[in-house]
Symmetry: none
Subunit: 215 residues, 4 copies
DNA sequence: CAATAAGCGAGACGGTACGTCGTGTCTTCTT
DNA sequence: AAGAAGACACGACGTACCGTCTCGCTTATTG
């Protein structure tokens, strides 16, 4: 299942055109096999120790078939990661009515889930592919950085609707403040103690200032 | 000037040994020329479109001279970036006594400075080199991620000493919440509006919850 | 017009069967278009710089249509060359009754005609295709090497019938001695002076003539 | 031993320059290994079924090392063939004083030697490489077509000096008339009966001899 | 002051991967 | 059933880098 839930096929590929197509149609099976092989290899190797040739071999596919549909390795890896071929369990976001408690539980889950080897590998691959593919693939990684679209943003949105947030609170900023430090540490492999995550949740939910500045 | 101020030479290189050296000593001039050339190339090319060969040519240096002192391209780039061969102006952190105002001013400065082409290039190079050099260079990028060592942490520390922060506030978490989302966006090239930065500062300084949870 | 005069279709293709054919019959138009396109391309490119794909594109024909009727590029090229799609003017062989004079005139004609760019291209293509298609196409190029079947052999045969040749003279050997050195030089692109050709004719005719021509 | 006897290194490579050379010198061992590997492969495969990659692998050499010194496969093969890495025994040319007898013996030897599998392979490789490498390598194959430089021309020259040839006889033409038909048949794989070779010798010798041999 | 040692620029080396091209087969819709 | 279109598996091409190695040369310390 994808981190992003939705099918992201359209992000990389133009949707099937309405024009009557001539010639042999694209083999959807090959498409799948490539992404699966990529995901499999990413699980056991780093981004730049896998080659297009190995992906092709692993997928039982011709190299040209890869280059026919993707411009380079970065794009293949991005599609594999973004469309969820790299398996990943989402940390569930509860809604007990208590925002601080829900975020705390979620954060602890993320600290566990996010530092699983597979997630680290995936996050690094995403980052490496995004950086290498620049500037062509920049838009992709930008779009997909939108973790806010997930459960976290949703939970914050609900809190706002229930007037649990102070007026003017920016939920996108809050989501960023929660998730980006975590993601960063996952990518660079810096371990995070549970207390650190908790402090982050505390900070975002209640701020750090002794007296709230008047705005 | 380096982002980190201090000389980081020791991080990558064993310090000059006390033992009396035989043979021709290392040419400090070559050392400099390599780092300068690397910085120059990083300004106009991405991390993986520059090669050791190009660095050597640009520096007017033999390739072996590079490999004698660094293990691979990632290390050269890391040293060039970390020791400040990539020029960079630090955003000054004021201390007017008003934390929220000081952080706001600093954030707006960072939004300007951080999205300068050179800073983006440097940040991406750092990231790419760190990722590629794994696991050998992991420690480096982890250490250098410690932006807390800079002005931001210092300002927060002073605020804490003056009891401007609520009890139990975690300044490291706050610093992370402020800087990581910014850094992330710089690396992936996602533009940030001034309002977004402001919201981040607001969130961290005052939190988002309507009522502070009792802790 | 073909060097060999006759239609060589049968050499490569099984003759049209008598059996009642089911389905759409072979498009003779496509057949022609392929050979024409091949000849056209051979005029401007060398054998191995043209591809089946280019032939198909140039002919406006599907690639499979080519592979349905020929086994490989060598066969297509051989048929195109051998059936005379590569335009070629035969050097006429006179019969004035004077063998030495007739052969001399013919040789000078060949030296002119054979070193025309088109002939060179054709000869090289024939050679290259024959070599590449080995061993399948070996028989073809062997058969077609039989230049003896042409005007030269015919003229020699007539001379023999008129007792102009010394007893025991081998006209096939004489024909080979005349034409192979020429052909070889055409293929490898080694220029031949008129005097060289004349010397060849002199050598062979004094070797086979009943009475040595007075020179 | 080479068909041409002499070392042909200079034909393909610029001779070692007098200029003081910098950097690591060319590995003569690698040079040899490439040519040996090429010759070995040519013995068991046809010209275009061997690849540069296989040559490199067989030689235990990097592919770039081949491309550093030769422009393409054709040049490697040409050098391997022309410098005699493809083993070849020359047919000895006797000088009994009787030209017709000497040429007959030599021709019968050639018919045996030339149709040995190795010689056929070598001749075809030479031809294929020469054709493919056009026009760059054209000069090479032209030069090397100069079989006249060998024993045959030498024998004819001696005969001329002894006035065994008729006045005005062109020994180059005679040599061509003898060897090119043979070479052509070897290349295209057309078997030659001993009688055919004998007829060729008869034709040429009676053409050039001062006194016709009695037959 | 020679001998020894190690660094230097240069550039060839054995390799790995790249991205392109060509071959001959297969699969779609069209004629 | 054949044709045009074009995707497919395969594999060679020629290039670019990697990290190592060997040259002749230079610059130190040591004997």
């Amino acid at each position: 299942m994808s981190l992003w839930g939705a099918d992201r096929y359209h992000v990389l590929m133009t949707p099937p055109e309405a024009t009557k197509q001539r010639g042999r149609p694209r083999s959807e099976q090959s498409h799948q096999k490539v992404l699966e092989a990529t995901a499999r290899l990413l699980g056991s190797s780093s981004y730049d120790s896998i080659s297009v040739e190995r992906i092709a071999a692993e997928a039982g596919v011709g190299k040209q078939t890869i280059y026919r549909w993707w411009r380079n390795k970065a794009e293949v890896v991005l599609e594999a990661v973004l469309t969820g071929y790299v398996e990943m369990e989402l940390v569930p976001m509860d809604d007990t009515g208590d925002l601080h408690q829900d975020l705390s539980a979620w954060m602890q889950g993320m600290l566990t889930e996010g530092f699983r080897e597979e997630f680290i590998a995936m996050a690094r691959s995403l980052m490496a592919a995004g950086l290498e593919g620049l500037p062509e693939t920049a838009e992709l990684i930008r779009q997909e950085h939108a973790w806010e679209s997930g459960a976290l943003m949703e939970r914050l949105r609900r809190a706002a609707e229930r007037d649990e947030l102070r007026p003017g609170a920016d939920i996108a900023a809050a989501a960023s403040a929660l998730i980006d430090p975590l993601l960063f540490r996952i990518v660079i492999g810096k371990p995070c103690a549970p207390a650190w995550g908790q402090a982050l949740v505390d900070t975002v939910t209640s701020g750090i200032a002794a007296d709230r500045p008047a705005r």
